[in-house]
């Protein structure tokens, strides 16, 4: 269940601005230059208690202390295999072998 509150020791993800738009490198495309360079990292919350949006400090997997805005409590992996793509199956079917070509009967 998604929660907005965390206590010390909870695994959380924080976000911070690494570079403001003004600080960005020259020569990058305009659509990138007008956005800040954002940085996310996970760690164990060092602050006693906090709510999403609060400035907090975490200790990362390598033991670094990083300050940032609390973004997610108990961050989970949600990536998957996506919606069904019929074209992929059709492309695969177009590769079907004819009977004599199958392993063992051909070479």
């Amino acid at each position: 269940m998604k929660t907005n509150h965390a206590k010390q020791g909870d695994w959380v993800r924080v976000v911070r601005t690494a570079l403001t738009p003004e600080e960005r490198a020259p020569g990058i495309p305009e659509e990138t230059a007008c956005t800040p360079l954002m940085l996310w990292v996970k760690g164990a919350l060092l602050t006693e208690t906090a709510a999403v949006g609060d400035e907090v400090e975490v200790e990362t997997a390598t033991g670094r202390r990083v300050r940032g805005k609390l973004e997610t409590v108990a961050p989970a992996w949600r990536h998957d295999f996506g919606a069904y793509v019929p074209e992929l199956r059709a492309a695969g079917q177009a590769f079907a072998l004819r009977e004599p070509e199958r392993t063992g009967s051909g070479s």
Binding site: A25, E31, T32, Y84, E87, G92, F95, E101, R102
Partner: protein
């Protein structure tokens, strides 16, 4: 600390030693930092279960290629199943050598900047050797939407106990990376050190030796997915060290022409985060534009041909590899496979082609996931002729297998571009050197420059001289 000092400390190499002070540098000496013998490197890799991967013959794809080929054509296709490495890709080979080096030099941790399989490779090797690990990724666009393929790689890194630092799009990732090196004092497990490239030489060696054992001869061609150049460089060097000097080295990249690699908008309009022309071309012509002063990955020294394939062709081959050969792998690692399937039709049926890698697949990092994501981001996905694919607008899966047809790139054009980049800033002196007579010192510089540029491009002095003369005349 200044950047060069930081680099020297973080990779344990004093790069200035290899510089001649002019255009050339001593590449062979740089590579000797990692030792000359791939068999010794293989011993290091065996300590952590890396390498000695199976070589599989793709009999069904060969049969299909032969049906589509003119009579007598259709080379035998083989694949090195690099997904069998501990972290699921050939990148374990690179990481094994770098992490061992870090351990030997007494570093407490390693750090790598990568959105690809290399992150999991470094994290896995670091776990085995008891080192801490940070992986820095370019992962999200400014809306906070992440590439599913990169998110999966972040998950894998965390599974191995690493810290993952994720960023939005932009080349300033390097600034963040440098500040993390300075803060932690960790070893820079760069993809571009001699350790990393020497780690792939064992792959070339295995390809040569396994093919000789299987077919009685070295392969006629090896097709290599090309991005940063290490895969091409290391594999080719390993083949040469094994004696397979006649094996044609073909690079293959996914065509992403027209998409800007630093564009927040284009970031999620591409379906491949590596193995594409957005890295393949710049890293070929400007290899030293990496995270070390001199890159050990110098693909134009080894490439005989360079071809591009469409995103749709790679996804279709990924599906075909699973259906016909029973191997669910990729997709990004199947870039070379898509090219090889078509190139097989050019070669006689008694010839052999090795696709030198496969990679693991999973949630996010899967043809289905990536095509669904593309569609959600407004990309048209359809069946048809892949030559109609427009990167950033459409992905065209081949309606029939014969429509898979890699586009040959003008490699001499890349070579000329390499020469132009290598001499950039030195043109006035080169113009002077071009004029005879030269004194002894100038003569030496001139000869050294021509020889170096010849090696950099795998071409002779006449080609280098012609290109240099044109370059200097144009700019005069």
């Amino acid at each position: 600390m200044d950047r060069n000092a930081l680099m020297m400390r973080s990779v344990g190499i004093e790069y200035a030693r290899f510089e001649s002070g002019f255009v050339a540098f001593d590449y062979d000496a740089l590579m000797r930092e990692a030792g000359d013998d791939p068999r010794a490197v293989a011993d290091v890799q065996r300590e952590t279960g890396v390498g000695d991967t199976p070589l599989l013959e793709l009999r069904n794809l060969t049969a299909l290629a032969r049906r589509l080929a003119p009579p007598g054509k259709g080379a035998r296709l083989f694949i090195k199943d690099e997904a069998a490495n501990p972290s699921g890709s050939f990148k374990a080979r690179r990481a094994a050598v770098s992490v061992k080096k870090a351990k030997e030099l007494g570093f407490s941790g390693v750090i790598a900047a990568t959105s690809g399989n290399y992150g999991a490779a470094v994290a896995s090797q670091a776990a085995m050797r008891g080192l801490r690990c940070i992986v820095v990724q370019e992962c999200f666009d400014s809306r906070g939407i992440g590439q599913p393929e990169i998110i999966e790689k972040a998950r894998a890194c965390e599974a191995y106990g690493a810290e993952v630092v994720q960023l939005t799009v932009g080349p300033e990732l390097f600034t963040v990376f440098l500040s993390l090196i300075e803060e932690t004092g960790y070893f820079n497990a760069s993809l571009y050190t001699p350790f990393s490239v020497a780690g792939i030489e064992t792959l070339g060696l295995e390809v040569a030796e396994q093919m000789r054992a299987r077919t009685g001869r070295f392969p006629d061609m090896t097709v290599i997915t090309h991005a940063g150049g290490g895969n091409v460089t290391g594999t080719a060097r390993g083949l040469i060290k094994a004696g397979a000097t006649d094996t044609a080295v073909v690079g293959a990249s996914v065509n992403l022409q027209g998409l800007h690699m630093a564009s927040d908008r284009d970031f999620n309009r591409k379906s491949f985060t590596t193995g594409h022309t957005g890295f393949g071309v710049p890293f070929a012509v400007m290899p030293d534009r990496s995270d070390v002063p001199r890159s050990a990955a110098r693909p134009l020294r080894y490439l005989d041909r360079y071809v591009t394939v469409a995103q749709g062709e790679v996804f279709a081959m990924t599906e075909a590899l699973a259906r016909l050969e029973g191997l669910e792998r990729g997709p990004a690692g199947n870039t070379a496979l898509a090219a090889a399937f078509a190139l097989a039709r050019e070669l006689d049926a008694d010839r052999t082609i090795v696709v030198q890698e496969s990679e693991y697949t999973g949630a996010g990092k899967h043809a289905q996931a990536q095509l669904a994501f593309a569609r959600e981001n407004g990309i048209e996905v359809r069946l048809g002729d892949p030559r109609e694919e427009v990167p950033g607008q459409s992905i065209v899966l081949p309606a029939t297998p014969e429509l898979i047809a890699p586009r040959e790139q003008d490699i001499d054009k890349l070579r000329r571009s390499r020469i132009r980049h290598a001499v950039k800033g030195r043109e006035p002196e080169l113009r002077r050197l071009l004029r005879e007579p030269r004194d002894a010192r100038d003569e030496q510089r001139w000869r050294e420059t021509l020889a170096f540029l010849g090696e950099e491009t795998k071409r002779d002095a006449a080609f280098v001289l012609e290109t240099l003369t044109q370059t200097l005349a144009q700019q005069a």
